[in-house]
């Protein structure tokens, strides 16, 4: 019962403390207008180069942008504790590590999915991209799974953040890698083989492909393989990330470097 309380209430409290995101002055420019203009930028580059339709870029960039809230929030809910000098208190507490760290992931998944869905709606409205009403529910599910997968990846980033001081640089670099490799803007079949091979092992890639197929009329059953891959990757990332956090915690205890990275 205590673990459940830590999981839900601790996670929610930590999320609310993040970034001052309760402030619309940060949330709107960063997570509403930012993704919309990323969609517009790449949609217009797409029109210039003629490689794909607006729908391709709206879906690709909306889902890829989920990486911003998922990576940054997940990294900072853990590594940010060090900056606030509260990490040692958390690590010395008798509370279970799984509810502490994974509880922080739950609101991040919900927010990441909301940001991607809103970007999809706004981008679609501005560029006149139509998606059938019947596709909306499966699309929402795919977005949720993609946000879950990306948050799992964020846990790895959070683990690294316990060692690396420049967490903002780390999260931005991962965002850049995802921008190139996930097929958000460059069709995977036009990428060199080694790049498309890497794409298959990254979060978001399968989610974007599934979302594009659903928007084109496929059912959820048709894309279940892609969704399952995305979910499986997310779970693997989460397990790996949690293991990394525990490893970094043990090393930090041994080296007395919890506060200094």
């Amino acid at each position: 019962m205590t673990s459940l309380r830590i999981f839900f209430l601790g996670g929610l409290t930590s999320f609310r403390a993040l970034f001052g995101w309760v402030s619309p002055w940060i949330y709107i420019p960063t997570l509403v207008i930012g993704p919309l203009f990323q969609i517009l930028l790449f949609a217009y580059i797409g029109r210039t180069t003629g490689i794909a339709s607006d729908k391709f870029f709206v879906i690709g960039n909306a889902l890829q942008y989920a990486s911003i809230p998922c990576l940054f929030a997940m990294t900072n809910t853990v590594a940010g504790e060090r900056q606030e000098n509260t990490l040692a208190y958390i690590l010395v507490s008798p509370a279970g590590r799984i509810p502490i760290f994974l509880g922080r992931a739950l609101p991040v998944v919900v927010n990441g999915a909301f940001v991607a869905a809103l970007a999809l709606v706004l981008g679609g409205l501005v560029l006149g991209v139509h998606v059938a009403a019947g596709a909306l529910a499966p699309l929402a599910f795919v977005i949720l799974v993609t946000a879950y997968s990306c948050t799992g990846f964020g846990l790895i980033s959070a683990g690294l953040g316990l060692r690396i001081r420049e967490t903002a640089v780390l999260a931005n670099v991962i965002f850049g890698v995802l921008l190139i490799f996930t097929g958000a803007n460059v069709p995977l079949d036009t990428l060199p083989n080694w790049m498309s091979t890497i794409s298959g092992w990254l979060p978001i890639t399968h989610g974007i492909e599934a979302a594009r197929r659903v928007a084109d009329g496929a059912s959820l059953a048709d894309v279940s393989g892609l969704v399952a891959k995305e979910a499986a990757l997310g779970t693997a990332f989460a397990v790996l990330g949690y293991g990394l956090i525990r490893l970094m915690e043990r090393q930090a205890r041994r080296r007395a470097s919890i506060e200094v990275a």
Binding site: E166, G176, V186
Partner: protein, 256 residues
């Protein structure tokens, strides 16, 4: 003379300081390279050598703006966090001469990013870098760098009252990339966007760089770029004076 000295020393000092900050010194260079790579991958699908060079030049200037946009948003806030804002404002030197080198230093770091982008294009994508009018190109690049720094200065003073100005600075990264025609011809954008593009110096700087590299008449664009940069400084100084006077009157310089 003392103003020129302050500008140069301030620029050099900021350049050294920001270069040592991992976020600006490393990341500001690396981050635009991700976008440049995506642009190269997109343009090479159907594009020839000219369109790839078009993309490389645009991606290079994107890097300059990327370096400036975030910094300009947070330039005043950073001094506020460091507790140095009051000291700088109270100093006998005009505050504009202290603030301007901050954004121009960042755009100078952006110049490194531009060179790195062109090299990356050459090494990874085989983009041949050729310039038709070298004289104009050599003039257009620094003029664009400085004018983008001036635009950053104007934004920095405009955002002075916002505590979360860094978020506004971040927000402006994509729009300027888009509407200044770095990777998209302005003719493709809706008609109402074009007048907005015309009042932005990077639009003309980009045109001047492209026309000098690919062939054309870069000098009129270059003149507009420089003229707009000077206008930004003039407007920025006026806005800054009013903002500082209001902050002094309300005793809110460190509290906004």
């Amino acid at each position: 003379m003392s103003s020129a000295r302050l500008l140069v020393i301030g620029w050099l000092f900021q350049l050294k300081m920001q270069w040592r900050d991992p976020f600006t010194g490393i990341f500001a260079v690396l981050y635009p390279m991700f976008f440049a790579t995506v642009a190269f991958l997109m343009f090479r699908v159907h594009g020839g050598a000219t369109s790839l060079l078009y993309a490389a030049l645009g991606a290079g200037v994107m890097g300059i703006w990327a370096c400036v946009s975030t910094t300009s948003g947070s330039a005043m806030q950073r001094e506020r966090w460091h507790g140095t804002l009051e000291v700088l404002v109270a100093s006998p030197s005009p505050f504009a001469l202290i603030l301007l080198p901050v954004t121009v230093a960042m755009s100078t770091i952006g110049l490194y990013c531009m060179v790195a982008t062109l090299l990356w294009g050459r090494l990874a994508f085989g983009i041949n870098f050729s310039v038709v009018h070298w004289g104009a190109f050599v003039a257009a690049v620094p003029a664009t760098v400085v004018s983008i720094g001036c635009l950053g200065f104007l934004l920095a003073v405009t955002f002075v009252r916002y505590r979360t100005a860094w978020a506004l600075g971040n927000m402006l990264e994509y729009p300027v990339w888009l509407i200044c025609g770095f990777l998209v011809p302005l003719a493709l954008l809706p008609g109402w966007v074009q007048p907005v593009s015309w009042v932005l110096a990077p639009t003309w700087g980009m045109n001047a760089i492209r026309q000098s590299a690919l062939g054309g008449t870069p000098w009129p664009d270059l003149a507009l770029c420089v003229g707009l940069g000077a206008l930004y400084i003039a407007v920025g100084v006026l806005v800054l004076d009013r903002a500082l006077a209001a902050a002094r009157a309300r005793a809110s310089l460190s509290l906004t």
